[in-house]
């Protein structure tokens, strides 16, 4: 027999949870309704959306470098994510499956880089990227962002638990090892590729420090830089328009989040547990 739960628990806990949830989502709600106000009423405290100045969004969109920066961000995030998935899967596969000398050393070295805060290497990374002629270019934004020990680590964990029989069968059929990987192992890695893709895309969309360092040209600005410039860039922009721009900057992450939230949670679980 199961002990019964006191009714207070049935009512109190969900209520507390609901209040917490509302508090936590409140700032986002405020942002959205404030972005629809006029310049004079933007900071008035008003819980309900009573004004709908959709022109704010129009103004934010046309009056700034926002459209271009969004295209930049999309291009960079997608490129980094696609290239990273292929390279990371290859490295992860090598570390999990192929027994070659130095494998353990490479793995340990890779894990240790997870312990190095980015701000420690940002200066030399900038100097190196500049020496390679990639500063202030799409190359400089993309190439150093591709490699990330976390992705390789998760791929390695995934391939370690991957049934060997499939690959062995493919190999017996005469596929080369590279063929086995690209035709069998990689296409079957969807359960790990999906959450990692979402994670990589979001991380790159949200990245601020590296683009800030490596780009000067306004044409190369990513969304974060464009938005930061709108606030502190010298020109006066009304707050309602700034807030509208901030909402626009968050829209792609919202869409991705709601489409793929199940996988996102899966991804965090995997990274947390293993």
């Amino acid at each position: 027999m199961r002990p019964t739960v006191r009714t207070s628990n049935r009512i109190v806990l969900p209520t507390v949870g609901l209040i917490l949830g509302v508090c936590m989502v409140f700032p986002i709600y405020m942002m959205i309704i404030s972005s629809l106000r006029s310049e004079t009423t933007v900071f008035d405290f008003q819980l309900l959306p009573i004004e709908f100045h959709f022109s704010n969004f129009q103004e934010a969109w046309s009056g700034s470098g926002l459209p271009r920066s969004i295209v930049n961000s999309l291009f960079i995030s997608v490129t980094v994510t696609v290239v990273a998935m292929i390279f990371h899967a290859m490295s992860g596969y090598a570390l999990a499956r192929l027994h070659f000398p130095g494998r353990k050393l490479i793995f340990a070295w890779m894990l240790s880089t997870l312990m190095v805060p980015f701000s420690i290497i940002m200066l030399p990374l900038y100097l190196i990227t500049k020496d390679l002629g990639m500063a202030n270019s799409y190359w400089g934004l993309i190439v150093p962002s591709i490699f990330n020990a976390y992705g390789i680590f998760l791929f390695r964990q995934f391939y370690r638990d991957f049934p060997k029989e499939l690959e062995e069968a493919a190999y017996m059929e005469g596929l080369s090892l590279a063929g086995t990987f690209f035709r069998i192992a990689f296409p079957l890695s969807v359960p790990i590729i999906v959450p990692l893709t979402i994670g990589f895309f979001l991380a790159n969309w949200n990245s601020y420090l590296w683009p800030l360092i490596i780009t000067q040209d306004e044409k190369l600005w990513v969304i974060q830089l464009a938005l930061a410039h709108l606030v502190g860039g010298g020109y006066y922009t009304p707050w309602n328009v700034v807030l509208a721009a901030a909402v626009i900057a968050a829209i792609p992450t919202f869409i991705l989040f709601f489409l793929a939230q199940r996988y996102l949670v899966e991804g965090i679980k995997m990274s947390g547990i293993k």
Partner: protein, 322 residues
């Protein structure tokens, strides 16, 4: 039947080559490079011949002894991190206990989790704009709420006061990350052997007893994992302090990462001093992670190993004696 021998080594190297190259160029080399720059007179954007300083530790000494901003940035980083981590782990644990309680069977869990996780995916610049608006002075939503509730009589300039500014930055960090911690902890609870909970239930343990005697002790490794990742994340805290208040007011939210950025990429481009500060941060990160790894190590496994060794030794001695 003879099997073809697979040349694992060849493919192993080919497959990991992109990774090895990239990490040599973009990870190992930068770390070594930082260490070197810290001992030199390298500064300014125009390349000049670089020399090792007469007193190689000059940059380090200058930072630790004379530089008030640097020391302030270290204490700010720790203060903001602690202020964000304690409520973060507390709330995440509470929510975890609630979501994983078998008897409560909370409905609509999925939607809740998604909602609570949302702040984590919003871009930092959006969040900076949002909180700037919320705490604006003299008229702003936060000032209005507090005035209406009777907590304050006159509007407070939250963003110009060091204490409140720090508090807000810590709150933003907490707000962005508790959902993430919660999901990691929930996954951890789901990984605990269900037999433990069953046994506790049969023994008549109530919810609190189960949580404190079973769940919490079993979560130890996951909690330490969260602590480590949060600590490393805390040491590189940059986006919010920089975007929100630019490290101000009066260096009140200047974190070490913002300090390093300011030294290297603003004003007089003091590469050497930025590198020295980076090395100090590196040492701090290394020491802290070493301590955490030491705490995190599997004590039972270590004990078992020791015991095994002792038995083997005893057996050896016995066999020699025989």
């Amino acid at each position: 039947m003879r099997r073809k021998t697979v040349n694992y080594s060849k493919y192993g190297y080919i497959f990991s080559l992109p990774f090895i190259l990239a990490f040599l160029i973009f990870s190992l080399y930068p770390i070594l490079y930082t260490a070197v720059i810290g001992f030199t007179d390298m500064k300014g954007i125009i390349p000049k011949p670089v020399h090792i300083l007469d007193n190689p530790f000059e940059n380090f000494r200058e930072l630790i002894v004379n530089n008030v901003s640097f020391r302030q940035s270290l204490s700010n980083t720790f203060l903001i991190w602690i202020l964000n981590f304690i409520p973060q782990i507390a709330l995440a644990l509470l929510l975890t206990a609630w979501f994983t309680n078998q008897r409560l069977k909370v409905r609509g869990q999925g939607a809740f989790k998604v909602l609570l996780y949302m702040p984590n995916i919003i871009t930092a610049s959006t969040i900076a704009v949002l909180f700037n608006a919320l705490f604006s002075y003299p008229v702003g939503p936060m000032n209005s709420i507090l005035h209406e509730l009777g907590f304050i009589d006159n509007p407070v300039n939250f963003l110009q006061d060091k204490t409140t500014a720090r508090g807000i930055v810590a709150f933003i960090q907490f707000w962005m990350w508790y959902g993430n911690t919660m999901i990691v902890l929930i996954a951890g609870v789901l990984g605990i052997n269900p037999a433990l909970f069953e046994a506790a239930s049969i023994d008549g343990a109530n919810g609190y007893q189960t949580f404190f005697r079973i769940t919490l002790p079993s979560l130890r490794p996951i909690l330490l994992f969260s602590l480590t990742t949060s600590l490393i994340g805390g040491l590189q805290m940059f986006d919010i302090p920089q975007l929100f208040l630019g490290g101000g007011p009066d260096n009140g939210t200047l974190t070490t990462s913002v300090f390093i950025y300011g030294q290297a990429f603003k004003g007089s481009y003091l590469y050497n001093r930025a590198a020295a500060a980076s090395m100090i941060l590196f040492v701090i990160a290394a020491v802290l992670s070493a301590v955490l790894f030491y705490i995190m190590r599997d004590r039972d496994a270590a004990k078992l190993k020791k015991e095994e060794k002792r038995i083997k030794k005893a057996a050896k001695l016995a066999s020699k004696g025989a």
